[in-house]
Symmetry: C2
Subunit: 357 residues, 2 copies
């Protein structure tokens, strides 16, 4: 809470409304689905409804809790407006709808409607969330290892003829048994020519006797997301397939090796992209190299071409180049990497050499 | 598309920007995760990126498709502004963030920035989605029946000592095998005293030798959500527990019987609430009686106290009263009901009499 107050002061604000749930959880510890947090330079108060009385009391340490019968965000804004010395309160325009902003303004006294609520120029809380502390890194490491364990389990389960949805079902079943709170996004199981779809959700298609299978999945552990991708082969790859796999693997390892505090996100992307360019596969790599991950599956930074943001120690990013040849096949390899002072620590140590099943 | 054009005309608009994905899917058939749809009185155009070229061509029938390298919504707005006769375009303020609106305005020529984009006073597309057509009712009926099949399967699986997460894992595994695209919300498995939590996500708590178990879950089938709740008992219920169960069941059946075209949502809520009031359980029924369901798990209408909206034939709503006695137990029973001209058709015909396991 101290860090966000320093940011408030630097932004010339005397209060901040926090409604985006991952931000709110990050600052207060509250995991319920309906709440608003008001932070001023002197105090912090979390507003939620009667369903969460017991839960808020147990979870929230850094703010007072007030149970309210009406919209928590409107109550939070009214409370800030009534505090001495709070002249302007920031809100996050990326997570406040046009309709919600109207409602919040209507909840204010008429004289404050035009001036009190100010959109923050840059996201204050998301900026804090970028760099993970020791506890967060421990939790994310555990989440990533659970992902690796699931992949290992699947290696003994996969066989030609299974439906993609059976693979997803098995994966999600085992994830639950390992204690996952849920999956961090819709599981991707894309086999044969479907592996050329970067976001191929599991269907009733059957795993081929010969061809690739891409598995991209993540779990939620203690609120934090994991994310990993492996591509395996059934049968013996054709030379073109094997070459493409090796190019993606080299691109992926090259980008992992490029990670380190002070390196620009664009340079990490280029480390992967230049390998695929040399392999004649530049056009087949249709997305960016990776993204931040944490309480949300997609967070800042974005590791794409030309991105100038520099990595900092404690950030956790994915490194996931891929190539997609429509109608033929696709390949993607993805690790989670924690940025350290002098490099990057791979959190997902599952094998990456081509596995032929 | 004809219906939304009539609504446009009535609202005095010459164009509409659709970015909320369920609305966009409803109007165009597109199921991808990044797109914007522009509807004018004369034509409709869907903007998406290169990942979705093949998918958009296959899915979108009622609009032209344009693949764009930049933000689809900005492209949609620019396209509308360039069409002859399009002076004002509506956008949905509930699904447009303050930041997104700024970006859309910046994408417009300077002379149009203040006037071109107009927030629609009432949601145009969500209003259309309220009443389901025959195809939608068929799909939702199938989704609901899959839910019932899952509940039946679980009756043979449940036993004291299992962890709640094992129950959720089994449920979600079987859902996948039955072809579900996913779960429509986080599965609720709340046993023993945890049944008193209206939103008790599955934990490592073990099913009791004596006590209630509440299962609240839904699947996604062809994009549409199902939603149902059953509460069962392990062992022999105490008189207080049995009485409470019967009160909830009577309240639920009373509200189902109250459903029909022309009936106000508040009256359906009152049908359930009055039964629980007579049973001395009014304070333990801490939420509303139900909600609309369709492409989203929570849609209009809301079946709560005082809601004046009237049901129409073709709406699909949940009827789910519950009672929650913190530290003791909770009970909820929920069906999906399709509103018909002269009543309601229960889409979830799973047994509701108290099951003792």
């Amino acid at each position: 809470m101290g860090a966000v107050r320093r940011k408030l002061t630097r932004a010339g604000l005397s209060g901040l409304l926090v409604t985006h749930l991952p931000d709110l959880r990050y600052l207060s510890g509250f995991t319920g689905s309906s709440a608003a947090l008001a932070v001023t330079r002197r105090s912090a108060r979390l507003f939620t409804d009667g369903r969460y009385t017991a839960q808020a009391a147990a979870e929230v340490k850094s703010a007072q809790v007030e149970i309210v019968p009406r919209a928590p965000a409107a109550c939070a804004v009214q409370w800030m407006a009534a505090q001495a010395g709070v002249e302007f309160a920031g809100f996050d325009p990326a997570w406040t709808s046009v309709a919600e902003l109207s409602r919040l303004k209507e909840a204010l006294p008429a004289r404050l409607r035009r001036s009190f609520l100010v959109p923050v120029a840059a996201p204050l809380v998301e900026a804090l969330r970028l760099v993970k502390d020791e506890d967060e890194l421990r939790i994310m490491g555990e989440a990533a290892l659970t992902g690796c364990r699931l992949f290992e389990h699947l290696l003994g389960f996969l066989k030609p003829g299974l439906m993609e949805i059976e693979v997803a079902a098995e994966l999600e079943y085992q994830a639950r048994l390992l204690g996952a709170e849920g999956m961090s996004f819709e599981t991707i199981v894309a086999s044969g020519p479907r592996s050329a779809l970067p976001h191929g959700r599991a269907t009733t298609a059957r795993l081929p006797r010969r061809g690739f299978l891409t598995l991209d999945f993540g779990i939620i552990h203690d609120g934090y997301c994991s994310d990993m991708t492996r591509t395996v082969y059934f049968g013996t790859p054709r030379p073109k397939e094997r070459n493409a796999y090796h190019a993606v693997l080299e691109a992926q390892e090259s980008a992992v090796a490029a990670v380190g505090a002070g390196v620009s996100c664009g340079d990490v992307d280029e480390a992967a992209r230049s390998v695929l360019r040399k392999a004649g596969l530049a056009d087949a790599f249709t997305h960016s190299t990776g993204h931040g991950v944490g309480l949300e599956i997609h967070e800042a930074p974005r590791l794409g071409a030309g991105q100038t943001m520099r990595l900092q120690a404690g950030m956790v990013v994915t490194i996931e180049p891929g190539v997609y040849l429509p109608g033929e096949f696709g390949i993607r390899i993805e690790d989670m990497v924690a940025v350290t002072r002098d490099g990057g620590q791979v959190l997902t140590p599952a094998p990456k050499a081509l596995i032929e099943l």
